[in-house]
């Protein structure tokens, strides 16, 4: 039996039908068509499916889809506005923070959750914020630098 779920996706109202027990990740990728959150481990270990739900960082692969009914879901696809990149995206680009790119959407959403709350984080704050996100290219240093740079760019903006 399919269950209807309505929620806000990057500011727009969406409605999808999901199978019983389907995760938010499946609802986003197969239902909404937003493939920016990735399917990695399916266990809540790797962080590539990181999204914000009502501004709080969550893992879409272990979130039951129907629990986001009426709530606001943000993904990496919603970072840009028109042709303009988000400061976090620009900072990732300028600091060479993406190698294979698979962890990047999750890293950026973890970074957004941090910067929304703490606009001038320390290096330790950044390390803690992305501690649930694995980069198997092991490019952590440029990612940490990118998040710190994004914080700097925002302060200037």
């Amino acid at each position: 039996m399919k269950t209807p779920v309505q929620f806000k996706h990057n500011g727009s109202d969406v409605a999808v039908f999901v199978d019983g027990g389907a995760s938010l990740l499946v609802a986003l990728r197969d239902g909404v068509g937003d493939t920016s959150p990735k399917f990695g481990c399916g266990q809540g270990t790797c962080g590539v499916c990181t999204v914000l739900i009502d501004g709080e960082v969550h893992l879409a692969c272990i979130t039951l889809a129907e629990t986001v009914a009426g709530r606001a879901v943000e993904t990496a696809d919603g970072l840009k506005s028109g042709a303009s990149l988000h400061p976090i995206q620009t900072a990732f680009m300028e600091n060479f923070a993406a190698q294979c790119g698979f962890c990047t959407p999750g890293m950026m959403m973890a970074a957004k959750a941090l910067l929304d709350r703490n606009p001038s984080p320390t290096r330790a704050d950044v390390i803690d914020a992305i501690s649930g996100n694995i980069c198997r290219c092991t490019g952590y240093e440029p990612i940490i630098n990118a998040v710190l740079a994004a914080a700097g760019n925002r302060q200037r903006a």
């Binding site: 269950t3 019983g20 027990g21 709080e56 969550h58 039951l64």
Partner: protein
């Protein structure tokens, strides 16, 4: 295979649904149950949820503290009256997991997970169990001894607020700041007239469930927390443990390490 999801407004209705059918699992934060679904676990076909407000409430009432089983690690970390538990909640997963993982779910987390439960065991916590429409209180230690056979719903967890500095916690992991336990230790060591009275020490990842280190407790009881008291406790550190060998550490390594980290915990050294 699609799963049937049943959502109830009250814990008692959810508990009845849980008990009525053996192929039912209760979903709180999702970190265990959704993971099982993703892995194709066919041992259950129904998932039960509850939207009961009490399930997610923190109720500090003087010396007694009650945490609804649906309280998340992030909620614990944000609560000003639970500062002694902040390092424990902080030890669970990364920021996203801490927004999802619940106190109740942690009770069921298989070894080597379940660090929060280790702290609750040292705090001598009692669980409010909802079975069908009747409730009962169960000591955490008793619950853990028969955890696999449990069919009741854990509604909340209650424990006494420890006196300042009497509660200690230490998690040993290879990756920081987020890593799975090689082992974890929690200790509640109330001091009365310079001597320990009512010591409770608990380990995580030293057996198939969080366990009490009763030999260590006996060694500490009535002693001062001085060099000889610490030495007596450390000598008994590995007694009664049955640690697993897994990808993180061998049983031998865990037995060797528990004495080292018990000493550091008791002496307050990093």
């Amino acid at each position: 295979m699609p799963i049937t999801v049943k959502t109830f407004a009250t814990l008692s209705e959810a508990a009845s649904a849980l008990q009525a059918d053996r192929t039912t699992r209760f979903l709180a934060g999702g970190t265990l149950v959704m993971r099982a679904i993703n892995e194709g676990d066919v041992s259950f076909s129904t998932v039960v949820r509850a939207t009961d407000r009490a399930f997610g409430e923190i109720r500090p009432a003087g010396a007694r503290i009650t945490l609804g089983a649906g309280v998340t690690m992030a909620q614990v970390m944000a609560h000003g009256e639970l500062t002694f538990l902040h390092p424990v909640a902080r030890a669970v997963g990364g920021p996203a997991i801490r927004n999802m993982a619940t106190v109740g779910g942690n009770l069921f987390a298989p070894s080597p997970y379940g660090d929060f439960t280790v702290a609750l065991l040292a705090l001598d916590a009692t669980l409010a169990m909802q079975g069908g429409y009747s409730g009962r209180e169960t000591p955490l230690e008793e619950f853990l001894s028969s955890r696999e056979r449990n069919t009741s719903l854990v509604a909340s967890v209650t424990f006494n607020r420890p006196s300042p500095d009497a509660f200690r916690f230490r998690k040993v992991s290879r990756v920081k700041p987020k890593g799975i336990s090689v082992l974890s230790i929690a200790a509640h060591l109330p001091i009365n007239g310079g001597r320990i009275a009512g010591a409770r020490v608990a380990y995580g990842a030293m057996a198939s469930t969080p366990m009490r280190a009763k030999s260590v407790e006996r060694a500490l009881e009535g002693r001062a927390l001085d060099e000889s008291g610490v030495a007596a406790a450390v000598a008994a550190a590995a007694e009664g443990t049955n640690p697993p060998t897994d990808a993180l550490a061998s049983a031998w390594y865990r037995r060797e390490m528990v004495a080292v980290h018990l000493r550091r915990l008791l002496k307050g050294t990093p």
